[in-house]
């Protein structure tokens, strides 16, 4: 025991004002949730019964799906269109994302005052706007068709990939960067020789991930007029042709799952190879 400073007898778990503020915030969140539930008329107690009702309804209405539709050449063309849009969206999205990621990474951006905030802003703008809103905007400017879809998907992918790319760049070992800089290289050379080799593997994974989200979005952009399978979805929903709607939905889900499995395999191969 320290004689000069005997053990204090007072200790309380509740510290003012921290504990009070923390409690107030938690209470506010709970009140907001409760109020939302009341305002939007959502009854939690009936959740279980709701789901069984939903399941029964869907089973009755959407079964059996009209699978004939899936083999028509026009639908298959639409599937191919979807893949093409997703491919272009991913490709151009990733290509534009590389310089944007470089500029929006705090540690290696070539210009902290101008390019860094600008790049951050562009990436944020691309990410904040939902891909469906981009789609609707470009459809209204460029008309129906794949062009609007590709541009919308590209913008979406730019935002998606650039953020993830930049996160990887910000996590690299500063050693090689310092070394290359010290040898008198310009910023672009620093990027190519010190940054890229370190993030190569992670970035490849991100590109595959971008394909996944691009394809998933591409299947739906047609709903808002941008070409691909989604257009059929919209048409049959409007016509209340539930069996065909079910067929399109099933094909969308199946294709996305296949794509995800392929991506997972590709990612595993890369992880093993590195």
């Amino acid at each position: 025991m320290t004689a000069a400073n005997p053990a204090p007898r007072r200790w309380s778990r509740f510290r003012y004002p921290d504990t009070l503020i923390s409690f107030a915030i938690q209470l506010a969140v709970l009140v907001f949730i409760a109020y939302s539930a009341v305002h939007l008329d959502v009854k939690f107690e009936r959740l279980a019964e709701l789901f069984s009702r939903v399941w029964a309804l869907l089973a009755e209405r959407y079964w059996p799906p009209n699978l004939n539709l899936l083999t028509t050449p026009r639908f298959l063309r639409a599937v191919l269109d979807t893949m093409e849009m997703a491919y272009l969206g991913m490709l151009f999205g990733v290509l534009f994302a590389v310089p944007l990621a470089w500029c929006s990474a705090r540690n290696v951006t070539p210009s902290r005052r101008v390019l860094y905030p600008a790049a951050r802003l562009i990436v944020m703008a691309c990410r904040a706007v939902h891909e469906m809103i981009w789609t609707i905007l470009f459809v209204s400017i460029l008309g129906f068709g794949m062009l609007a879809g590709v541009i919308a998907l590209t913008l979406f992918c730019i935002g998606f990939a650039a953020k993830l790319f930049a996160e990887e760049v910000e996590a690299i070992d500063p050693g090689p960067v310092e070394a290359i800089r010290a040898s008198g290289a310009n910023e672009l050379q620093v990027f190519v020789y010190a940054v890229l080799p370190q993030v190569r593997v992670a970035w490849t994974g991100i590109v595959i991930y971008t394909w996944d989200v691009a394809f998933r979005a591409a299947t739906v952009v047609g709903f808002f007029g941008a070409g691909g399978m989604g257009w059929y979805l919209q048409r049959y929903v409007q016509q209340l042709d539930n069996q065909r709607v079910a067929a399109v939905l099933l094909s969308i889900v199946a294709l996305v799952l296949v794509s995800e499995i392929a991506s997972a395999v590709a990612r595993a191969r890369i992880a093993r190879g590195s």
Binding site: F32, L40, D41, L88, A128, H130, L137, M146
Partner: protein
């Protein structure tokens, strides 16, 4: 010495050339596919005549510039409802996650060969189906309105929340558990003092993260009739009120920015 070095150097050069060749071939394939796709999009699919040229396109884009100030007071309720939808969607999703997490975490799953793959499959399916698709399903099942949106967001959120939580449970540090057991604590106490403090921050963090993403998603639920700002957006579009459309988009961006701010600080406080 020169004799032993030269063949080695030759091999290095050959390997390097091979790698460059492989990279070039890869790039060529990528470009070839891109050209095929571009052809389909730009040549086959696009009716350039109707677009009318660059000037016409710019004019159309110009229509969106401008804010419809009269719309602002009408946006207050949809903005709040969008926020509510995102919140409830996350909460319901978290509740629905519980069985999925139980199935999909290796150390607590009842069966490694059946239940565990099922759990992971449910997580994948949840994430693979686009929120618009979920919304269409639920609008069809429970009708137009925010309930469909909430359920759609919930189903979409399950995948990520369950995945992160299951991983946290699988990676729990066993050492504090051992220490609590050594003091003679009961099972519930071990859970409360050794396991919960490790998992709770992760769970809260992912819930806040998903809530933030759900704000972005809930803004468009209304496009298919599932409530929120999306409905306002749709109305402005069909009324051809282009500045109105821009105003709604700005409102959505503002809401998302607010969400990101709250989410950033909340996650810092919790983790």
């Amino acid at each position: 010495m020169a004799l032993t070095v030269a063949p080695g150097l030759g091999m290095v050069l050959r390997n390097r050339n091979l790698r460059l060749l492989r990279a070039a071939a890869f790039a060529a394939v990528i470009a070839a596919i891109a050209i095929v796709c571009l052809h389909q999009v730009m040549v086959v699919d696009t009716d350039w005549a109707r677009l009318g040229g660059f000037a016409a396109v710019m004019k159309t884009t110009g229509r969106f510039i401008g804010i419809d100030w009269s719309l602002l007071p009408l946006l207050v309720v949809p903005v709040i409802e969008t926020l509510m939808m995102a919140t409830l969607g996350t909460v319901v999703g978290a509740i629905l996650c519980v069985p999925v997490i139980w199935l999909g975490a290796l150390n607590i799953t009842p069966s490694r060969h059946l239940a565990y793959p099922l759990g992971r499959l449910l997580m994948t399916v949840s994430r693979s189906i686009h929120e618009i698709v979920w919304a269409l399903i639920f609008v069809s099942a429970v009708g137009l309105g925010s309930l469909a949106g909430i359920l759609a967001l919930a189903m979409r959120s399950i995948g990520f929340i369950a995945k992160i939580t299951a991983e946290a449970i699988e990676n729990v540090d066993k050492r504090p558990i051992e220490a609590m057991q050594a003091t003679g604590a009961g099972t519930l106490q071990v859970f409360r003092f050794a396991i919960m403090p490790q998992i709770l921050p992760v769970v809260l963090g992912v819930l806040i993260f998903e809530w933030d993403i759900n704000i972005r998603r809930s803004a468009i639920m209304g496009l298919v009739g599932a409530g929120g700002l999306g409905l306002t957006f749709h109305r402005q579009m069909v009324m051809f009120n282009w500045p109105g459309v821009t105003t709604v988009i700005l409102a959505i961006l503002a809401l998302i920015a607010l969400g990101e701010l709250l989410s950033h600080h909340a996650r810092k406080a919790v983790t």
